[in-house]
Symmetry: C3
Subunit: 262 residues, 3 copies
């Protein structure tokens, strides 16, 4: 089967569609899969986390294009990565691609050379997604190799931050607020405790609130909240059919402290 | 032609993309069609109405996956349905799938068995869409049968509520407010009257307002409103290039009373 | 390769998905590409500009369906256009299709005949997108010709408005506010000046503000704004990692006056 190209941006439909036009100049119908075009504008670290989780289950050989790029047009490098299982990643060298590349394994990185990719080497300084990254992805999905489109390169290696141990628990942060207002933390579910165990939660310098670990939303009494193992593999703070983010006034990047008897 | 898989959720892009990754592990490029990922969060009855109308014109043999699932992880059954014309439906057993299944005709229902579907039978208690429904849909689109993936089952049969007759008309409710603020009711267009007939409309306990039946938006004088036959086959209350929902302060689920001389 | 069908509307997912169902009754998996379904409601002139830029890079032979149609059901004609390079455009005759048709070149226009397209000639007076435009596009993508589906016709020729020369510069307007709050004007980048040149900008009757031409966002000091050559080929007013639209209180259609030494 011909490879898929996934598309993940903070650009909105109008710019993303221009990238699709460039991709389909070379690729067969059905090749392009939209992951999201509504990532937080200029939110590189949250987007790096989300890209990893949205893209990592696609089949080996997929080409993943991602653009969250406040530095477009600056000297930051245009980046291509090939992983051990044969998937490719294309986007700006600002850390966005690294968590996905690490998860897929054995990444090798290349600085893309516009003169080998763009029509006449011309690239809009405000929209490399359309003029450089989309054409590069179309070439990779058509059989070109990164060795041919660029040269070996040492990229920015952004890692999802790990929580810090505290005397009575862990201090982490909120990586993502999902559509339901659930607060996804950077504390691995495996670091948590058995269902039913009591837990104390503190956001930033707010009050210490007490709840328990639970298995799923439906196990929560209406109006209550708890700490669950999210589908991301990290602990999340959730309110039953309500927004924990609104309830606690929490945003992405806020500090969260979890304490429980171990 | 290989079958399509449609995807309809209230999950937003981040979770829906993870489902697409699972689907494409098994399916050919172009197989997955996004219907919506912005359905009203946890709004099962409105979503059941919308799913039916979004999905019912797809060709026979299509696999429809839908996830609006406040009870994820609870004992509510994971449901698969096959219809007389050979389409399949996959999602939670909470009524969401039933109006579409009824419209397609001759539905037979099955309780999905996770041990026959999920990798090692492991399913996240907060995201069955990714770990159970998407893999089940991929198997069905690849030729598996529901007889093999589950066992016969009696599902929840949710029907779109019918309006009640009143001395001088009908009392129904607002099923959906569309992007333009048009109010789609549960009163069949065929229950209405000829274009030009006068009609009285009352929302909830609000004032009785007088207007008329019209054929289309462009027949309304600017700033005016009327009752039209919507494209859903039900009567709608519409304001010319404005939002009837905002004008009348109406929401999904509100009662609406229509009276006209018959 | 079979042709693509692009879909661009102000209808939102619920109505757009119904159009996709109609398209896939006839077309192979992967044929339909969503450009946007969130165009400004009833915003024909802005949408005409956006459609052109979203669609113009797709390969020759693509069928472009667009629906932004406040006059649905009125006597305005249903329009089909074929261009010199063999692409087709389908939508309402209200100017929406014309900038794209002009950009693709050598357009020939046809009034669509519902009796040759819709099932039994039946078309909902509130949703021609589903009952007429989608079936027409499916027929065109399957090999039918506009000569067969309609008759030659003189359409509304809407052009993107040109800026007017002033003693000390140009007076244009804001065509589009993008997701980041950048203000895309109707002044061609080629009418601008070298990077570093000073420029005075006045929105509507607001104060005259002074800045300079710059090459890209990253060249702007944090918190500052400037005039750039946008990826659309027109000058844009941009604030570094902030919304110029919010900063200056500007909306689509607002007048903008640019003055610089030439």
């Amino acid at each position: 089967m011909p490879p898929l190209v996934t598309l993940t941006t903070d650009l909105g439909d109008v710019y993303a569609s221009q990238m699709k036009g460039m991709l389909y100049r070379r690729l067969a119908p059905g090749s392009v899969v939209d992951l999201s075009h509504d990532l937080p504008a200029h939110g590189v670290s949250e987007s790096a986390f989300l890209l990893r989780h949205m893209a990592q289950r696609f089949p080996a050989g997929t080409v993943h294009v991602a653009v969250v790029d406040p530095g477009v047009g600056s000297p930051r490098a245009p980046l291509g990565i090939v992983t051990g299982e044969g998937s490719s990643l294309v986007g700006p060298d600002n850390g966005l691609l690294w968590p996905l590349a690490s998860a897929l394994g054995s990444p090798r990185s290349f600085r893309l050379d516009p003169t080998r990719i763009a029509a006449h080497g011309l690239v809009s300084p405000t929209f490399e997604g359309r003029d450089l990254f989309a054409p590069a992805a179309a070439l990779l999905a058509s059989g070109s190799s990164l060795e041919f489109l660029g040269s070996a390169f040492e990229p920015i290696r952004y890692e999802i931050p790990a929580p810090r141990p505290r005397a009575d628990g862990l201090e982490g942060q909120v990586l993502h607020v999902d559509r339901f207002g659930n607060l996804i933390t950077n504390v691995l579910t495996s670091a948590g405790a058995e269902v039913g165990t009591k837990v104390a939660v503190q956001f930033g310098r707010g009050p210490v609130r007490r709840s328990s670990f639970q298995r799923t939303y439906a196990d929560l009494p209406e109006g209550l909240w708890a700490v669950l193992g999210s589908s991301f593999g990290y602990l999340e703070v959730s309110a039953r059919e309500g927004s924990a983010a609104r309830r606690f006034g929490v945003r992405v990047g806020d500090r969260v402290r979890l304490s429980w008897r171990r």
